[in-house]
Amino acid sequence: MDKLSSQRLPPLKRNWWLKHRFFKLYMLREATVLPLVFFTLCLLAGMVALLQGAESWQGWIAFMRSPIVFVLNLLALAASLFHAATFFVLFPRVMPLRIAGHSLPDQAIVAGQWAGVVAVALLFFWLLGRA
């Protein structure tokens, strides 16, 4: 009997990722770049406005205050934090760090990265948050 002729391999359906919570979370993780791109385009528009002059700059700030833009950027903030949470746990698996012959525990590496996020926020506060 020809082994190959009786085999079945149905091709993977395009909605394969809807079949399990794990895959849906994977797709959500990947999709965090969509709000990021939106924010980046907003930032680019702001840079152009800054180049054009004070009025354009104020106009851009008003644009950033409009409801839809504001909500989408809130989404971008949430996306950046969700990305950070998933990215930080992957990092020690891709590059296990060793000090003095012992591997650093994963939690330490994750905590260190979050400390970086906080440090950047504090830097921004120092730069922009003081009168």
Partner: protein
């Protein structure tokens, strides 16, 4: 069977008998279970008492041979390591995804074996022993620290569950896949091995490490906690380093 509480459960199995019908179909079986009944026990009961036409692979029944992989409610699992006490409702058993099905729960693992062979999963020595003195045989020396570097990745039992879990392999069977790439990395990390350069051509291509998008489901289903996702992605670092060096060497 022991004297614990015995009840019955229903198990649905995806049958495929190419000799009699071109299409697969579901068949339900009702069987006695207790707290210790594994899925493999159930399949053996079905074959021995209810329906001898059912085909499936099994051997050690203790999660070391890697033979009894099946899909249980859509998740790849070993039959011997899956317990019916953990399932309250439907128990749907199908053959491992992403492999051609030969009959019932038996799949064709040939592509997996090809990918495994392609990465040269064995120690490659650049100094083969030129003469052998039985009075003073040369042996490899390896410290516990050197062993620890690759040991986790060496625990792979070639069960193939990670291939069923991996959507990239599902989308493209030419992708070398989690186990093969993990074993390549295992040998690259082994202090006794000198074959990294020989393996690199297989790894540093699109169907090598670069098809992986760190979905990570392979590591979740691995019955031996090998963490193939980590190995594949560490392999990306190695492939990137190799590319950089190749660039500078010109």
């Amino acid at each position: 069977m022991n004297t614990q509480q015995i009840s019955t459960k229903q198990v649905s199995v995806k049958r495929y008998l190419p000799d009699s019908s071109a299409e697969p179909y579901w068949q339900q079986y009702e069987l006695p279970v207790d707290d210790s009944t594994s899925l493999l026990d159930a399949l053996n009961h079905i074959k021995e008492q209810l329906d001898s036409t059912l085909s499936y692979r099994w051997s050690c029944r203790m999660a070391i041979c890697g033979s009894c992989g099946v899909m249980v409610n859509g998740i790849p699992k070993l039959g011997c390591k899956t317990f019916l006490r953990d399932y309250d409702g439907d128990i749907r058993i199908e053959p491992l995804s992403h492999f051609p099905v030969q009959r019932d729960l038996v799949v064709d693992m040939e592509i997996f074996l090809e990918h495994l062979a392609a990465v040269k999963p064995y120690l490659i020595d650049d100094n083969p022993v030129k003469s052998y003195d039985p009075q003073a045989p040369e042996t490899y020396q390896q410290s516990p620290e050197q062993l620890a570097r690759y040991k986790q990745f060496a625990n792979c039992i070639n069960c193939g569950l990670c291939y069923s879990a991996c959507p990239q392999f599902g989308l493209n069977p030419e992708f070398l896949g989690p186990a093969a790439l993990t074993l390549a990395h295992r040998y690259n990390l082994d202090s006794r091995d000198h074959g990294k350069k020989q393996r690199m051509a297989e790894l540093n291509r699109h169907e090598g490490v670069w098809s992986c998008t760190f979905v990570g489901f392979c590591s979740k289903v691995c019955p031996k906690h090998v963490d193939p996702a980590a190995a594949v992605n560490q392999g990306k670092v190695e492939a990137a380093k190799h590319t950089l060096i190749a660039l500078f060497k010109g």
